[in-house]
Symmetry: C2
Subunit: 297 residues, 2 copies
């Protein structure tokens, strides 16, 4: 199957929908790139675009989006409730299929060099981070746009690309690579939220569980159930089936059964392939056998 | 997701690969139709083409394939070990996604009318059959090409399209609609083939099992295992998970575990969707959530 890279840039404008449309048109202008979705939040004053395609095409679309965003958004007058540091605040690349993390990082670096060349300082984060303290976006964004004049003068925050010079109009851009996240919730046939909380603790990384699981326990009063609500940060290393079976056995210890589960939002086909392989025990199965997948070649 | 109709015509030529290539080029000549595969068997003297796309495009490709096949193949001199009745022996349509059986039957009927108009008598089979005795291809093909002069004179075998006149050059064509078949094998940790045979009997339709399962038990001497080898004829009505769980419980009765399974050849995405929904208990999941599937729109 052909290579699929996804990009999900966030720009610091969510009120002027004409402006947002002009930015969207930059993405649409690249043949082979599919704009799956874009949405704006006026309170946050922020818009998110989701598009995908072959890596080179997605890079081209993101460069065009960057140029238009820097042309139209002036951070010196921007206000909104969402933390932000730049006109093109963050541009994460997400390798979906046929492209590994290293190749996606190379694309993020090329975007960084391009944007640095436009006079906008750039920080790399997540898989593209150059230092441990730049791995997390909230860490990089501390102090927001308003802190940039001081921050850029600090050698510890020298940008990864571009000059260490404050650009009042555009701020800075953060780019990098992250893995596709799977939002997975498990509903339990009990009203005791303590049970969901105990199971969340059992599976989540922070309290001794699986490396790539974030989890909390929640009540679902309308359903008379409780929920273990999870984000799986790397479905190849902590697969859906393993998490489900662990939740099942932990719940059984309280005599509680699983009522159902929810996969929320986008799911990569590879995550479902793992589920099929595990439960069918079909060790040699390949997605290339799927009739519809042949259309993606 | 967009409509996907698959067509798998069989032509009565598997030795003259230049001829087969000319027929393949007719399929390739229709924009939007993807020729997934074609293969020729010289002993059978037969070739099979597999292509898919939107229904109208697949119909157009099949009409072009029919015209070229009738132009190039002369049944009055054709010989081969595979049962056959015509130059374009059979053209089954298989609804993969976004098109129901009735709409696929309408396409098969339009192909039938087109081919009938070319002077080639047509029989409809499977979902498109006009009489119960024309449901199965082997029933329609009884006596093969050589029986056609007598058969076409018999009112019981009046063609569904075209005139009841023997066409020595092209024979007859059979077309219709069948469901995508899933070839599913389950390997068991035992060398006793009797156990595989008993389980095959338990799940297959003919001996009291599931309506849409054909199954046999086989030894796998190289692996020191046995296999329940199955065709699932309608995965929506007899789903993979139900068959697997039945085989598992039947095998457990002999103290035998499942070593692994095999999905052989093409699998429709809908069959995997059912597996994911069943084992994850994810009742509201939709394939539209799959990132790659968005590319098929």
């Amino acid at each position: 199957m052909r290579e699929i890279l996804l990009c999900e840039p966030n720009i610091s404008e969510g009120r002027n929908l004409d402006l947002v449309e002009q930015v969207a048109n930059q993405v649409r202008s690249v043949p082979g790139v599919k704009l799956l979705d874009y949405s704006s939040d006026p309170d946050h004053n922020r818009s998110v675009f989701t598009y995908l395609g072959a890596a080179e095409d997605v890079l081209e679309a993101t460069q065009r989006l960057a140029v238009k965003t820097f042309e139209l958004i002036d951070m010196s007058v921007q206000q909104g409730s969402h933390p932000r540091q730049g006109a093109l605040d963050v541009a994460p690349f997400i390798p979906v299929r046929g492209i590994d993390s290293a190749a996606a990082v190379a694309i993020a670096r090329r975007l960084g060099q391009f944007v640095g060349g436009l006079g906008v300082p750039v920080y790399y984060y997540e898989e593209a981070a150059t230092r441990p303290e730049r791995k997390s976006l909230p860490d990089i964004r501390k102090g927001e746009y308003e802190a940039l004049p001081v921050k850029l003068a600090d050698p510890a925050w020298a940008p990864d690309e571009g000059q260490a010079v404050f650009n009042p109009r555009s701020g800075v851009m953060v780019t990098g690579v992250r893995f596709p996240l799977v939002a997975f919730n498990i509903n339990l046939h009990t009203t005791e939220v303590e049970i969901a909380e105990k199971i969340a603790k059992a599976v989540r990384h922070i309290s001794g569980g699986y490396r790539f699981v974030r989890a909390i326990g929640l009540p679902l009063p309308d359903k008379g159930m409780v929920q273990v609500s999870m984000n799986l940060l790397n479905y190849t290393k902590t697969p859906i089936s393993r998490v489900l079976e662990t939740v099942r056995s932990e719940a059984a210890c309280y005599g509680v059964a699983i009522a159902g589960t929810e996969l929320v939002g986008p799911v990569p086909l590879g995550a479902l392939e793992q589920v099929v392989k595990f439960y069918l025990q079909v060790h040699d199965f390949s997605l290339e056998q799927v009739i519809e997948v042949a259309l993606l070649d």
